[in-house]
Symmetry: C2
Subunit: 282 residues, 2 copies
């Protein structure tokens, strides 16, 4: 596994490999890797000739007062985990070079970026799309891999790629979960044992919605009320949002038809956690 | 000269050529070509193995009430002009595919886009950077060519390319002028003979500023006053803005030092014209 930090070197490497006819798969991460990330690496390994994993804790996607400075970082641990896979390049873009002091260029997907997480994190998705655009330009991958756990992010990136014609295919992988259903997240690290236990309620609430929809409930408000009641019983869980929405537009549903995105965000102790489930109303 | 309209075909062509080790030069235009555009084509021909000229009247860079619908279009004439050069591909992107009804993805360079032309055309540069990002992604050029006549546009595109790491080199060519100094523009076409004659005052005003600066005048207000007086004497010329600014930040100068961008925009009859001169204070 070769490590590249210099942006120009990353670009030159990719160009050289593309001239040799090699396809490139990019797995963009913020590090502190877990099985969710590793499932993306595995998929990239199967799909592409060369696998590039980037680790960059992107300041542009954190708002003021958010957890940028305490976001978990452990490069030694990440390297060890990646050594079990055949990763060709570990790309560690040089932070000061990525966003210089007078950075003013942004990529934004309007509409979708204002909903759900965008309400409490108004500049978050602009930071995500901007850094992903930068990584796509630096690495020129044929495929880029993202997890469905960040469903809204995935949707926004797909729309950006389509509407700005980035020459890359976005590949989504299912959320990886703990034994009790908690979605893997680097932020789970913030939870103490009590909070960790309580956090399982997020997935339980999603499963409750799934069951209700599958049992024929078509009124989103009734489902949301049940979910809220379940969530409010869990100690230290403060709900941010909870929606049953159209999985393409993220517009909240008045009546359930066909596919439904059930999505939520909650603060559990010091961790802001998100999760979602895509449910088919049969 | 091969014509490509399909976006996917353009991308595939570029990828094929890049695998063969060919470099690509892109000249993005809105058509109704003049000697200014042709100087870009000529420069591209010298620099790159393959030359792609795009013609696309970009709706995203026109505001409401602007001249999108009456912007001059004459593909037959453009083809004839391009036939005198060895252009490899004429890229005519399919308009409905470029911006679909629900288009929400934009690239924006904040700050620079709000100054000068951005004041009277608040969404103009966002439209420009978005379409240029799209063209860069579709064509994957090694070089892209722009005229210095659109100085602010050039500056914004350079900043976008640098800050979003687009793998392309931006090459700027000097403004091409008529016998009386009027900068070539597809919009000169809108002028009747009287307006055409009056329009020469724009360049005369720029030259006046240059002379004053070279003669040691360091107070921008005095120069602007002289320019305004000259411009106001020309029939049918309504000034939009007139600035002496820093050529990197576009911030208006309080005192003249080193390099000065002298730039203006004016309505001359039905045409909004812009021009600029970069002056070195010796």
């Amino acid at each position: 596994m070769r490590t590249i930090k210099d942006l120009q070197e990353m670009h030159s490497y990719s160009m050289k490999m593309k001239r040799r006819g090699k396809s490139i798969g990019l797995v963009p991460t913020m590090g502190y890797l877990h099985e969710g990330h590793l499932s993306l690496v595995e998929a990239a390994r199967k799909k592409a000739d060369l696998v590039v994993v980037s680790i960059f804790v992107n300041p542009a996607q954190f708002g003021p007062g958010e957890d940028f400075s305490r976001y978990p970082r452990d490069l030694k641990r990440d390297r060890k985990l990646l050594n079990n896979f055949e990763v060709d390049v570990l790309f560690l873009p040089d932070a000061p070079k990525m966003f210089s002091g007078e950075h003013q260029s942004y990529v934004e997907v309007e509409g979708l970026s204002q909903k759900m997480c965008g309400r409490s994190r108004p500049t978050h998705f602009r930071g995500v799309t901007t850094v992903v655009a930068k990584l796509l330009n630096l690495v020129s991958p044929d495929y880029a891999f993202f997890g469905e756990k960040d469903f809204q992010q995935l949707l926004i990136i797909k729309k950006m790629v389509k509407e700005l014609n980035f020459p890359v295919e976005i590949i989504a992988l299912p959320t990886v979960r703990e034994f009790d259903g908690l979605a893997l997240s680097s932020r789970n690290q913030y939870l103490n044992p009590k909070q960790r236990k309580a956090a399982a309620v997020l997935y339980q609430a999603l499963c409750l919605a799934k069951k209700e929809i599958e049992n024929g409930e078509r009124n989103p408000h009734k489902i949301i009320a049940q979910m809220r009641s379940l969530l409010s019983a869990a100690p230290g869980v403060r709900l941010d949002y909870l929606v049953l929405a159209d999985p393409e537009t993220l517009i909240e549903l008045k009546k359930i038809k066909r596919k439904v995105l059930v999505a939520l965000a909650a603060d559990v102790g010091p961790a802001r956690l998100i999760d979602n489930l895509l449910v088919e109303a049969k």
